[in-house]
Symmetry: D2
Subunit: 283 residues, 4 copies
């Protein structure tokens, strides 16, 4: 395809939209979608996502990027250009609960998640059958606190070997080290089974039941060094009542986890997310 | 204030965003918000809403509009410029049920609906007290099918006298004639107490109860000649179950009607709505 | 297990709850759940669902039923006793779109839908692989308007052979004859891809798009002779906006269809639904 | 009216429903609604709410209660009988933000909240006009940390003088002392402007904005000594996105606060809530 997505972040000032759209017009590109957000028109931060189409895009790609440098510099832009024809490569990490993995594979099969999935990594064998039945290589890497370093070394090697762009923790119940996180900044999407910041940490459904909440939820977020404190991408909730014990909450919650994680991954694959100061702008 | 909103509709083609943003930049205007939508990048319809800020806007307004003509013509634009400092003038029509009127007045009092309300018109006396207690003139114009023409003549006169921009039918239970509608095209916002197109016409809650639906809803839309067939602006629903008879549905529904109408009116006052082929684009 | 569910429907009058609960107590049964609803305490219809537990239930089942006859007669009850240990037998009909089938099979695999699934019937081959991979017999019975009678004869034979209690139309796009429906009264659950009564019939997403609705939905209902007019079991909706064309609505809608149908089927398997005058009471 | 509501809590064991319904039948009462819940059929806690109708209820009230004692004792019941003709008496506490007060008064005026409101208490003058315009006495009692004891002494005196059953903190921004709470156990309903347990304490919208959540919410709960830790009655949420700053969240949140508090108060007035171990059972 001849489509690309341009993500921009810079200090706000007059003339940004004009300069960028003029540039794209000069390059023969047609803007299809455009979203912008500014934290404050006077002295704030400016964010924009543009989708454009240009004939022979793969051929003119390099020149386009080179030419854009001048504009980018004059406005002090952080920017990123993604080409729709360059399919993103996604690795999925999973443990024993497979509902999130299944949802992702399903959406992938039906063409709703546009990505290559070169591998699935798990610390258990439970997911092997479903993964391999779809022709995806499955790597069983047992893990626990004591061997974390070795485990992550193997994982990082695989991620590198397969040139992975997005890592999805589809209920992977292991904590990652700061080194692993640092090596994959804003690349790791986790699903936490509570509406954060409520019930950070272990056993959120049990604790939700103990607290007697009337809503339970799920949160997908980028992983940072602080457990469950990374930038939130998407959240949703479902109603529960006094008849729902923690087991029932878990069942209800699984359905929310599935859809919340699938939405977050989809947005990441479509380059809709910009991280800024531990928050996300989702265009 | 120095803010204005520019709404554009034209055939899609490359260069629109560039031309418009370049123009605004030349005029010293800073784009604060921008939304666009195209039905099809190749040969479709293009829609855009821009909010911009310019110093001394009231002073340069006329020249700005004149200068924009050239661009507008070259792209065959339908366009509209609204100035935030020109507060819109809103008339509310109501009958005996006051919940929607109350919600609007409440939002208006608390500053969430930015409008002048020079008058409320009703075919009953029920709303007089609440309206006059806020210092708003109240006009009681009895109405029924047989005197529709005379009634509307009086109403049109008042609308003209008070220079009204937006007419809100806040549960005004009279049908308007094609003449009245034609004189106020895309200016009249109605609230219908069902999720259209279900239950067009009278007694939607009673019919919802008879049909045994598990959801009831409300729809705000622009009024056209076809009853309840105008462009939908906003809809919402609430759950009901077998214990809710039509009376209970009515109570539950009133809360949806209030919020759905208030949102639609707010969007209209903020120039967020473009009507196209019996649908709305809401930016 | 020693659990059973008792569904009752009779004219309302004082003493029903007392008589039934006294009876169960005498039989050594402990009431675990109880729900009741009356359309009108004075001269209305009374509905109740009780879940009870009794030791050695399979052994005392027949006597229990015989003894209950006296009470049932004195209150003119319609009633039904289901035993949790008698797993219901469910047939799934499907065409080419598999998302609803998949959801049901998934919930079934994970133990959320307690049923036996002795067969899946389809007029296409698309579902064969997924169905047979789970060890469920798959019957391909091509169908069209002209051979409806012969097709249904085969289907009815299979339903009889496999002693089917519940028929789920998981996006089976054929219309059933009155004879087929009559032979399976209140046994056939369909999923319609709109929030009924809006968009009865074909192509609801296309028509929803044309109408410009801001919500789309799905409805599960029992099948009757009137197309899409049977008793509604469950409905849900999702927001859409002007950017969603009918294709996008279809994608969004599939997720609603999945969950709405799965809930309806679950409730039917748990004997939670009583049909009364083309409506459902869902306890 | 001849209606009453019976709330029961006792250890679960066979025969409770039978004994209670048999008793009511003997007394000539007709059960209109019935809900029950058990934490565990074997050795758990049993909860029930019954609504019944009996002729001449005010006249037979005392004997009914006396006769019920025997059953209550044999099953070790906590129980409460409320008579619909004895309208509950509700005091509202408010500070400067009036949206929750307004919603309650509105629902009260339109007959949706059945209660007497003998007084509104505030530490500010803002609410005086709206309260007195409805003929409700308004008490201005300035409050701050240093004079908490004296303030509460005055408040308790008023509550006693007016024989108050329900105290609603409709955004009353003062912390109550353990003595005040102890004197009104399970009688004080608060609205907190977050989905608890997220954002306990001050400035929840500001903190929600800082954390970058995609949902904001409100929680109504009974007040206990632990700040924002009391039994949750009702919660709801609304979506926000990156464009919503804390001010926008506050506006959106006010609408949730209004409906969540109104529902909780309604349920309390209808005797639908049983508190058990810092949780609520809401029938």
């Amino acid at each position: 395809k001849n489509k690309a997505r341009l993500l921009i972040h810079c200090p706000d000032q007059p003339g940004i939209v004009s300069a960028v759209s003029e540039f794209l017009y000069q390059q023969g590109a047609n803007i299809i979608e455009s979203n912008q957000y500014t934290t404050d028109p006077a002295g704030g931060e400016f964010f924009m996502r543009l989708v454009f189409e240009a004939e022979q895009l793969p051929a003119i790609k390099e020149e386009l990027e080179k030419n854009f440098q001048a504009i980018a510099q004059s406005f002090q832009m952080d920017w990123r250009l993604s080409y729709v024809y360059q399919i993103k490569r996604m690795a999925i990490f999973v443990s024993k609960e497979l509902h999130c993995l299944r949802e992702l594979l399903w959406e992938w099969q039906s063409g709703d998640l546009i990505a290559d999935i070169p591998l699935v990594i798990s610390n258990h064998e439970d997911a092997r059958e479903i993964v391999e039945s779809l022709g995806i290589p499955f790597y069983h890497i047992p893990a626990n606190k004591d061997i974390r370093k070795q485990v992550e070394a193997k994982q990082l090697e695989l991620l590198k070997e397969f040139d992975i762009d997005v890592i999805v923790l589809a209920r992977y119940m292991q904590i990652l080290t700061p080194d692993f996180v640092a090596a994959n900044r804003n690349k790791i999407i986790n699903i936490h089974h509570s509406f954060l910041p409520a019930f950070v940490g272990a056993n959120p459904y049990e604790r939700a039941y103990q607290r007697g909440v009337k809503l339970i939820g799920a949160t997908s977020h980028f992983v940072t060094d602080e457990l469950d404190e990374g930038p939130i991408i998407e959240q949703d909730i479902s109603r529960v009542d006094h008849r729902d014990n923690s087991q029932a909450m878990k069942k209800i919650g699984q359905s929310i986890e599935r859809s919340v994680l699938a939405r977050a991954v989809k947005w990441q694959l479509e380059d809709r997310i910009i991280v800024h100061q531990n928050k996300t702008i989702v265009f």
